[in-house]
């Protein structure tokens, strides 16, 4: 459930593969290409405007597992969604609970979002 609190606005996080992440991986996970590909958040443009987040501006994402700061960019996302490419950055936010399947909630967990 999305909503606002003093800690920011609660949105839904999905992670996933991107072409840039796949290409960057071959350069090495310490490479600029890989880090640029994975250390970014994509958001709906209207959500960004409402939360006073500028395109390229930094946001703080917080979940029950941890928090991370990333640059935010407007992407083709419906309102309420945040997309972060798979990688070590977003995994700070992903809880290890797998509901008895082995699979953590890489898609669909709640994160609080606010300008950093």
């Amino acid at each position: 459930m999305n909503g606002r609190s003093a800690l920011g606005e609660s949105l839904t996080l999905i992670t996933g593969r991107t072409r840039e992440q796949g290409i960057g991986m071959h350069k090495g996970k310490a490479s600029t290409e890989y880090r640029r590909a994975t250390e970014r958040a994509e958001m709906n443009a209207d959500d960004m405007a409402r939360l006073l987040i500028q395109d390229g501006g930094r946001v703080r994402l917080r979940s029950a597992a941890g928090e991370v700061e990333l640059p935010a960019h407007a992407g083709s996302l419906p309102p309420g969604l945040v997309f972060v490419p798979m990688g070590a950055s977003v995994n700070v936010l992903v809880e290890a609970e797998t509901q008895g399947t082995g699979m953590p909630s890489f898609k669909g967990s709640s994160v609080t979002v606010e300008p950093a």
């Binding site: 992670t15 991107t18 796949g22 071959h26 990688g87 797998t98 699979m103 669909g108």
Partner: protein
């Protein structure tokens, strides 16, 4: 003077494209033909030079590293073997043998990929086919919760969208394509019809589709999971009227709320559609030989992932013997990671435990897991430095050749040495 090696298989993703041409000048790659933007990097960035293994960050002889790894595994009460999806079938067999020998837990990257798909297959079965059949016969394609344009860039051109086949002589115009996803992507743009589903609502949509296929009245509901029911009716009509339908499904179903229940619902829908048309489903397998890891572990133990040999016989336990759970609970006291990078790809709470226990890594490329490991073996890259076998996403085995004149030991050789060295 250059030489060209034809029909090289790229082992990066589950398409295992085996039509790549690599042109060499000496040992240097000067030209690649047919590789996609993602697969290109596998070959372009490959460094075949033999590098020595590391123990505690110190370069050592291979025998010394094998002894150090064997000592770690011998001392452990509950070792975990994990990864395997970017290694050849021949090495995967050795990893299972080592797990059996040690009484270890063995799990593959399937558990954070299509593990839930495996659970669904066990529950309701899987009506499936090969990618060759898709190319030659399928006239209705549905992509559900997957984005091949990013993850499997040549899938569209080789198998599912544009190729001309025996019963699809006009290629793209002989196929109707649906994409179902929570957001527009490069793949949804390729589809004729894009149905945008609410996050976590796939199960409800699938249940509604099953109901509509049976001809049930779904009442006065206008939309389900954000999709107008009229559009779902249109999809069902096309599914029942097509000649040969295929659903490609991905992490949008396995990683979202419902996980294996989503996939079971989809597999059931596909089975039921066979009353009206030929219909199949193919999971979009990510790593080049993750399908092989499922095959090998199933041949050897009866189960596709999450297997414990602790009691001397294989036990299956998703949630119990899956790597994320074992690590997050702090249960493993040593880890052997084969061709995988859980420090980069696991939730932090699970990845952190690998830094607390002695970890052994076999990997041709540097990784975040290798950076924290006690013992690192820079092994051969399968399909480049080493021959072997990889299973494509449709479970067709593809033979791999040695393309580079490298002397790096293979995962299979190192694992074999470990089997000999452990007590």
């Amino acid at each position: 003077m250059s030489t060209t090696v034809e029909h090289v298989a790229c082992t990066f993703c589950g398409c295992v494209c085996d039509d790549i041409a690599v042109e060499f000048e000496g040992t240097r790659v000067v030209r690649l033909r047919s590789a996609c933007g993602v697969g290109r990097g596998v070959i372009d960035e490959h460094d075949p030079e033999v590098r020595p293994p590391l123990v505690g960050g110190r370069e050592v002889r291979w025998e010394e590293a094998v002894e150090a790894a064997a000592a770690i595994l011998d001392q452990a009460d509950s070792p975990l073997i994990y990864g395997l999806s970017s290694s050849a079938v021949e090495a995967q067999r050795k990893a299972v043998e080592l797990a059996d020998r040690l009484g270890a837990i063995i799990d593959t990257t399937s558990s954070v990929c299509h593990g839930p798909t495996g659970l669904a297959m066990q529950a309701v079965g899987e009506a499936t086919c090969t990618l060759g059949e898709v190319r030659d016969r399928a006239d209705l394609i549905v992509f559900w919760g997957c984005n091949p344009s990013a993850s499997h860039p040549r899938h569209f051109n080789r198998f599912s969208l544009t190729p001309k086949g025996a019963l699809t002589p006009n290629g793209r115009s002989d196929r109707t394509v649906f994409a179902i996803d929570v957001r527009p992507t490069g793949s949804t743009k390729q589809a004729d019809h894009f149905l945008q589903v609410d996050v976590g609502a796939d199960f409800e949509v699938l249940t509604t589709l099953r109901s509509l296929v049976k001809g049930n009245d779904v009442g006065a509901v206008a939309s389900v999971g954000g999709i107008p029911v009229d559009r779902l009716r249109d999809l069902v009509d096309r599914m029942k009227d097509c000649r040969y339908g295929v659903v490609f499904m991905g992490m949008g179903l396995t990683m979202s709320r419902g996980r294996h229940l989503n996939v079971s619902e989809l597999f059931s829908l596909v089975s039921e559609l066979n009353e009206y048309a030929r219909f199949s489903v193919i999971p979009m397998r990510g790593h080049g030989n993750v399908a092989g890891a499922d095959q090998v572990l199933t041949w050897a133990s009866g189960y596709p992932f999450a297997v414990s040999y602790a009691r001397g016989y294989p036990q299956f336990g998703p949630g119990e013997f899956t790597a994320v759970d074992v690590l997050a609970r702090g249960e493993a006291d040593a880890a052997l990671i084969v061709a995988s990078d859980p420090v980069a790809h696991f939730p932090r709470a699970a990845a952190e435990h690998l830094e607390r226990i002695p970890t052994i890594v076999l990997d041709p490329t540097p990784s975040l897991t290798a950076a924290i490991a006690q013992v690192v073996f820079p092994t051969a890259y399968y399909g480049l430095d080493a021959a072997g076998t990889a299973y494509r996403m449709d479970n067709v085995p593809i033979p791999l050749r040695r393309v580079f004149p490298s002397e790096r030991p293979t995962d299979e050789e190192i694992l074999d040495r470990m089997i000999e060295a452990v007590t």
